[in-house]
C-alpha cells in the first residue's frame, strides 16, 4: 500500500489517533478526543485543559485558514522516559507568510480572532515547532510532557 502523506511528510499510520478537520464541528470533536486521550494517559487536570485548549486553537486554524486538514495525536517519551503527548496539526492551505509576526501575537488575518492563537499555544505547551510554506500549507507540532510525580 502506498504511504499516505497528510502534508509535510506526515504519515497517519505513525500516529495513535488522526482527526480529519473538514467541518466546524470537527473542532469540537478534536477537542473532545484529545481531552479523553490526555486523561487516559495520566495528565493532570491542568495539563489536560492546556492540551485541549491548544488543540482547539490548532484545529480552528486548520479549519479557518485551510478549510481542511488533520490533527494527529501520539504518545511519545523524553530522555529519561518521561511520557508525553505529541500533537501535529497539518494542512495544505495557503500557509503563513510571516510566521515570526504571527508568533509575536496580536496578529491575525482572520477578523473574529484575538490573534493570539498560535502565540498562546506555544506558551501552553513544552515544545513547539512550526513549518509553513506559502501556497503549500502549514504544520504545527507541539508536545506536552507529563509532570513527574
Amino acid at each position: 500500500m502506498p504511504r499516505q502523506d497528510l502534508g509535510f511528510g506526515v504519515d497517519p499510520e505513525s500516529y495513535d489517533i488522526v482527526i480529519h478537520i473538514r467541518r466546524e464541528q470537527d473542532i469540537a470533536t478534536a477537542r473532545q478526543v484529545v481531552k479523553n486521550f490526555a486523561q487516559e494517559n495520566g495528565f493532570s487536570l491542568a495539563d489536560v485543559t492546556k492540551v485541549t485548549t491548544a488543540v482547539s486553537e490548532l484545529a480552528r486554524n486548520v479549519y479557518r485558514y485551510a478549510g481542511t486538514g488533520s490533527v494527529c495525536l501520539r504518545r511519545t517519551t523524553r530522555d529519561h522516559g518521561t511520557p508525553g503527548l505529541e500533537i501535529v496539526a497539518v494542512d495544505r492551505g495557503p500557509g503563513i507568510s510571516d510566521v515570526a509576526r504571527v508568533l509575536a501575537g496580536g496578529f491575525s488575518t482572520y477578523e473574529r480572532s484575538l490573534g493570539i492563537g498560535l502565540a498562546g499555544v506555544r506558551r501552553l505547551m513544552d515544545e513547539f515547532e512550526i513549518r509553513s510554506e506559502p501556497g503549500a500549507g502549514t504544520l504545527v507540532r507541539v508536545t506536552k510532557y507529563r509532570r513527574s510525580l
Partner: protein, 131 residues
C-alpha cells in the same frame, strides 16, 4: 438555545454545553435579544461547568459584553474554574468588558453594584424602581 433564568433584574446564563464556535455565536445573538426583551441590567454568565475557554470563545464573550454595554447592560463572568484560569492566564488571553465573580452570590453583588462594578467605562445605572 441556552436556557436562561431571570433573577430580579439580571439574566442568569448557566452554560452547561460544550461551547463550539456555532454555539457561542448563537448564544451571542440570543443574549442580545433577551437583554432587549427582558430589559436586563446585567447578564451573568456562569461558566463553572465549562472546561475549555479558548481564544475564540474569549473573543466572542468580550465582543458580546461590549454589545451588551452599548445596550446599557453589564456582563459578569462567574465561576471560572482554576484550570481554565490557569490556561487563560498562561495563553495571555484578556477578557474585556466583563467583571469577574467567584460565585453567583458575588456575581449578583457585582451586577447590582452602583458604579462600574469593575468594568471600566460603564456609567452607573440610574435608581432602580422596585415593583
Amino acid at each position: 438555545m441556552v436556557p436562561t433564568i431571570r433573577v430580579s433584574d439580571c439574566l442568569l446564563v448557566p452554560i452547561q454545553v460544550d461551547l463550539d464556535d456555532a454555539t457561542v455565536e448563537r448564544l451571542q445573538q440570543q443574549l442580545l435579544r433577551e437583554i432587549e426583551a427582558e430589559r436586563a441590567q446585567a447578564v451573568i454568565l456562569d461558566v463553572s461547568m465549562v472546561d475549555v475557554i479558548d481564544s475564540y470563545i474569549s473573543y466572542t464573550i468580550s465582543e458580546t459584553a461590549s454589545m451588551a454595554r452599548l445596550m446599557g447592560c453589564r456582563t459578569v463572568l462567574c465561576g471560572i474554574r482554576p484550570h481554565v484560569a490557569l490556561t487563560l492566564a498562561q495563553m495571555g488571553v484578556r477578557l474585556r468588558n466583563v467583571a469577574f465573580a467567584r460565585d453567583l452570590e458575588h456575581a449578583l453583588i457585582l451586577a447590582r453594584r452602583r458604579g462600574t462594578g469593575g468594568v471600566p467605562g460603564i456609567a452607573p445605572p440610574g435608581p432602580r424602581v422596585r415593583g
